[in-house]
Symmetry: C2
Amino acid sequence: MSATNRQIRLAARPVGEVKPEDWEHGSEPITEPGPGRFAGRTRVISLDPAMRGWLDDRPSYLPPVGIGEVMRAGSVVEVTASNHPGFQPGDHVVGTFGVQEYVVSDGRGAMKIDTSLAPPSTYLGALGMPGMTAYFGLLDVGALQDGETVVVSGAAGAVGSIAGQIAKARGCRVVGIAGGPEKCAMLTGELGFDAAIDYRAEDVRKALREHAPDGIDVYFDNVGGDILDAALTRLAMHARVVICGAISQYNNATPVHGPSNYLSLLVRRARMEGFVVFDYAKRYAEAAQEISALIGAGRVKVKEHVVRGTVDDFPAALQMLFRGENVGKLVLELA
Amino acid sequence: MSATNRQIRLAARPVGEVKPEDWEHGSEPITEPGPGRFAGRTRVISLDPAMRGWLDDRPSYLPPVGIGEVMRAGSVVEVTASNHPGFQPGDHVVGTFGVQEYVVSDGRGAMKIDTSLAPPSTYLGALGMPGMTAYFGLLDVGALQDGETVVVSGAAGAVGSIAGQIAKARGCRVVGIAGGPEKCAMLTGELGFDAAIDYRAEDVRKALREHAPDGIDVYFDNVGGDILDAALTRLAMHARVVICGAISQYNNATPVHGPSNYLSLLVRRARMEGFVVFDYAKRYAEAAQEISALIGAGRVKVKEHVVRGTVDDFPAALQMLFRGENVGKLVLELA
């Protein structure tokens, strides 16, 4: 281990796809925790589609990452020293600690996790923000009813894979949309989806007609673009379209492709609704408990894609995410 | 009066704007009403933006008008002869009787109106489908709360003018968007809107920033396109976007311009929802009663644009509608 804290900072606002030169790889001295603080060493860093939005200088649900600032990221750290009564050396703690090897924290927004129940990475995935997002998006925003037909895009990703499995556990017919035969095979195989559509090889609109013949009751959208448009043509009456993200649009240098078929909301008396998972913070325990129980019962399989390396591998790992090269939750595990 | 029933039938499916040659002007003999039927003479014909959608051969909330069929239209007829116990000669009846001078009806979907309370045209406007659409769209779909900020597009039209005035009557701040200084002056003058934006002369996005500084709680959209996109940039948290129509897009020969800024639904935790007024048929009486009371109290002013002529003037009147040349509810009154 180096005696310095290696960090990835934002060097420039990316235009379109994030390029290597948009990042600054640097380091600073490791600092000791002051009163009421703890120090920790980063174990696992989360990679999330939402990160792309944090890099743009425009109003959103969080302020943009500033130029020169350590890149914002969720991570799990192991406490190495503490002057905070709530955290002891050896504790594993999840929080938004950024892309760096060492952190000092006053504990705000930090939560101790139990690594005997699940590995640290799972607290960034199924039991972390992606799991919470799947749960509240599907059940609260989507108002899912048992037995409905659910279509999930980005279905092999961190959020989509959990959303689809929660829907299956509620007795729904679940169709996943993902890129490539391997992901699709995983969806209908290991994860138990009723059908999978490979958007790279199939006409999504046609495939939805086949796999959701009575229409879509809940469409959980992680991707936007043409796939959202295809789903809009197949809505059942009173359908709910849950806008969770739009990964196909995040790297656009041109304006977002808006859904041409949005008038089907009128014809089908349907709604399209967005949400931000942070609004459900008071109910995270409820969701974590239910997802834990489903994992324990074997009804939710946790898929994680672990890149092992150093913080310097963060930019390349983020590219993997936008190229759809991950299966399940993508994390960077520090050696 | 001719001894024949003059009719306007659909000759061809229009591409883009409806052209004169898309219509067939013809006539057929007047028929006597059989048992259980009444005959009537058309007094006023409704012109509605929704008509454009009925001309396209694609699935919607109503089947398309068939080639060679009498054009579908709401109208008020005066009963001339009747073998139906519910309708007597001299009665005025509103229904979907089509663009023709004479009708024979079995009474299904027909409703007697009281012309001592309001002229026939008003039963096609403020007390007809446009009024119902404004009422249920705003209050049920939009879940309007007293005191909220409401923005209405197509605000000088049949639906928009009523929607804005209902919102004003509920103590809301109401901003109307319309085309041209005359319409805007009417909105803030006679109709009592708090502000009006002339989309032909102003930057709608900037004007919304000025007139809805705390954001839009309910956006009632009749137009779609760039104005919808502008409104999406100004949503308040938990805003509701009511999709009532998209007149700017109906004559497109190219695909509909989808709302590029739909991701603000996510950032603002907002929803966009469509509806079809027919679903509220059981509650029309409730809406008509409230709108009548508001008219009686002078809190809703009824704006009607009456074209006087024959059924042969229908195609030109419909063009007026899509060119925004009407103020308030556009009707064709037969001489």
